[in-house]
Amino acid sequence: MNNRLKTIVEALIFISQKPLTPEKIKDVLQEFPPEEIDQAIEELLQSYSSNERGIQIIKSAGGYIFSTNPEDDHWIRRLLRIERKNKLSPAALETLSAVAYHQPITLSEISALRDTDSFHTLKTLLQKKLVKIVGRKKSPGRPLIYRTSHEFLSYFGLESLKELPSQEEISKILEAGEDVQE
């Protein structure tokens, strides 16, 4: 029974293109007791944690998703004929940081923080679905307000926003010195 549950959970995670949350799994497997599902997830994670496999299950954005091992990147790119993956520009990363730490935030607030007009960068981030519009601020002009999205978390492999470096960690980096300003 338990083994059966484990394979079902494995199948559900495999078929999901986005991180699959435990809640969603329980929602689908409503016939099974939640504790058994938790246990099945736990066992499944354990069986994948050995280094013998080319794929692993990782926690991301509050859910589980299959991923390859970082060491195999080279071979995968050769198969897919991709020389390298697109990375976000420094401006995009900076804007994302501003949103992540100050959300909910408006465009003019982002621009003020960065000391530069961020309209285009924000537009790109919206297209990439890394930020989302959550409403309008009740202030003159009723500007749009933005937040980071679920995709933001999974893109950076974060489980939740709490994983972002805290004030202390940031101070440490700042103390560490010049390599911050690349």
Binding site: I65, E83, K87, S97, L113, F156, G157, I173, D179
Partner: protein, 243 residues
């Protein structure tokens, strides 16, 4: 004889005359939040009731001190108006902004690191369409189709009221390199999307000529899955010399 003595306040955090308490609060040796004013006044009233005579001086003094205490505490408890804050210290807001800026810079460095780590782990989410040009039943578009699509984009751009602030020189060689880079990274390029992103008419024209050059050299192919669908440009021969 008792009447000449000042009234003593008895609290957990403080014991003594009220004026001393006020002094300490103003010097910030004692936190006003820890002072229960209701209890002080309550006890004072009880103390008064026990007295036969009222010492006007002493009572007036207490009233003044108590009023000051209440004023200070109310100031601490009430949310301040924005205007008052702005007047405070302009340097403070500058320091605050600088700190925010530093924080953001540091955070983006970390995000960059995270991104690099994460991009090495391939997920099904990241998979580009596994299409290869030979697997598709595609229609290669004619020069006429391309030109038509190009002018449609130009028309659309015309309506935007944009101004050229900085004039940048564009060369066909440069554009060819840019197009090839996009193709290598993304496996294909969306024609419409690409031209909409061009900043100026000049840049769009140079891009169009570059694309035509590439098609002529059979290094890329412009295709449509079906008529009237979006035109996609695929890389077919990466090296300029190889056939």
């Amino acid at each position: 004889m008792e009447s000449t003595e000042t009234y003593q306040v008895k609290l957990k955090v403080f014991q003594g005359p009220l004026d001393l308490l006020l002094f300490l609060i103003r010097k910030q040796k004692i936190d006003i939040h820890d002072i229960p004013i209701a209890i002080i006044t309550q006890e004072y009233l009880e103390y008064l009731e026990q007295k036969e005579k009222i010492n006007l001086n002493r009572e007036a003094e207490f009233l003044l001190m108590a009023a000051l205490l209440i004023y200070i505490k109310s100031q601490m408890l009430l949310p301040r108006e924005k205007a008052a804050e702005e007047e405070e210290d302009p340097r403070e807001s500058l320091v605050h902004r600088l700190l925010d800026y530093q924080k953001m810079k540091a955070a983006s460095t970390l995000l960059k690191k995270k991104e690099a780590e994460e991009l090495l782990k391939w997920k099904r989410t990241f998979l580009p369409p596994l299409l290869r040009i030979e697997d598709l039943d595609l229609v290669e578009v004619s020069l006429f189709d391309l030109a038509e699509a190009f002018f449609a984009v130009l028309k659309r751009k015309e309506r935007e009221d944009f101004q050229i602030i900085k004039r940048k020189e564009h060369s066909v060689e440069e554009k060819i390199r840019e197009i090839l880079t996009i193709l290598r990274e993304n496996s294909y390029l969306d024609f419409l999307d690409f031209f909409i992103r061009q900043q100026t008419l000049e840049e769009a024209l140079v891009s169009f000529f570059s694309l035509l050059e590439l098609i002529k050299a059979k290094r890329v192919m412009a295709v449509q899955e079906r008529r009237f669908q979006s035109i996609k440009v695929w890389l077919i021969n990466d090296s300029p010399t190889g056939k």
